[in-house]
Symmetry: C2
Subunit: 246 residues, 2 copies
């Protein structure tokens, strides 16, 4: 029986989503719990994609197969009782065995939180602390240039080898946090993302917000297909996988 789950996690104490020997990972914790539920037999979980160390998820999605049949309600309760309390399974459903949580992804939304106000120790692992004023309207204009289909080679790691660097960004948004005038939240909805792509885009936006570049420079930087032309990579703590669409 194939199951499809939605789960959230606080990534701050994990070496990322993907299982690695001797490291505490989200996948590792999930598979340990699933093995217990599956009568001691190993279970492989397939998520919509990995997230890096320190990155959080509001709605990560994944599928896996169990040998035993168990109702979604019971499976949700069993999983939540076995996984650490900084991971939470929000929803479980049964799906057709043809469904694949990674291959069937239509779009993903990431958000990135930046705090320009006083450093807040309570949010240290959950927001990027940035102590300079940023030109928000200029950043918003830059963000709009990214919408559409582009080659994003300038925004992936220089040594990342891909057959195809073209991705489509469906929609972007820059919101001031309604609770705090000094916080902004940038949201990017796209058909697919390469490693570090969101954090490199946000880093570029910050350099635009600082006045080092103009918003329209982002077009040249996209066209350069050269990582060295783009900006910094921002820290993982501000990044959240917000949702995955099928």
């Amino acid at each position: 029986m194939r199951y499809f789950i939605t789960f959230s996690y606080d990534g701050s104490k994990y070496s990322g989503y993907q299982k690695q020997p001797k490291m505490k990972t989200i996948q590792g914790e999930m598979e340990k719990a699933l093995k217990q539920i599956n009568g001691g037999k190993n279970v492989s979980i397939s998520a919509s994609g990995r997230t890096d160390a320190g990155v959080h998820a509001y709605n990560q999605k994944a599928h896996f197969d169990l040998d035993t049949s168990i109702t979604p309600t019971k499976l949700k309760a069993a999983l939540n009782s076995l996984i650490p309390d900084d991971i939470y399974v929000k929803n479980v459903s049964e799906v057709n065995e043809k469904f694949h949580a990674r291959f069937n992804v239509k779009a993903k939304e990431y958000i990135y939180k930046i705090n320009m106000g006083d450093y807040n120790p309570i949010e240290k692992d959950y927001v990027f602390q940035y102590n300079k004023r940023l030109d928000i309207p200029e950043m918003e204009r830059a963000l709009k240039y990214l919408e559409g289909t582009h080659n994003f080679k300038s925004f992936v790691k220089a040594d990342e080898e891909k057959d195809d660097y073209e991705r489509t960004i469906i929609q972007t948004n820059l919101m001031r946090d309604i609770k705090s005038v000094n916080q902004i939240v940038i949201s990017i909805l796209g058909t697919g993302f390469m490693r570090y792509m969101v954090r490199n885009i946000i880093g570029m936006l910050i350099e635009i917000g600082e006045g080092k570049y103009k918003s329209e420079d982002i077009i040249k930087i996209l066209d350069s297909h050269d990582r060295k032309c783009a900006g910094i990579c921002v820290p993982a703590c501000g990044l959240y996988l917000k949702d995955v669409y099928y």
Copy 2:
């Protein structure tokens, strides 16, 4: 020279504010840093009051005396470079040596955060997770009965010996979180609070919200002067010292 500081902290990794041998405490970390700044001589810090293990502060306030004279700007930078990153000094000023951060307190505001929605692992140490529906208007009415001067013996630990259990609650408020319909924030501004008083009040409000008591029962409970008549004590993680007024 006497200095007055405003500081915030994430209480989740501390055994409370007050210094205790072999325990990680806010006061302990602050005094360790101050000793270094004070050329190796011990410094005693006097805060507006202690907070229990797991309780957070947005604006805790304290004073201390240094043998060396240092500008507030430099002192703020020095302190922040020496304390752990889950404590942050927001403001430093010089004050008259007659000023006392505890004795001169006029009022304090505490807030308490309750989440009735899906458990969110990202907020596990920062909100009280409550999985039942609460009758919010009834809780609001109960809260209003607490305003004014009352004997709060029913809301302190049964074995807490005090000369005087009378305290004045100046203002209360119950707000729905603007970001999430399932979160509420209760704020209580008062001239003084006894140990566990806020958490015991919130526990009582929750039992009223559940329907175990009516809002007006809170009058009888106050009048009983008996801890056993009142409700549960809620966990520390939802509690924040919001501000201190002089």
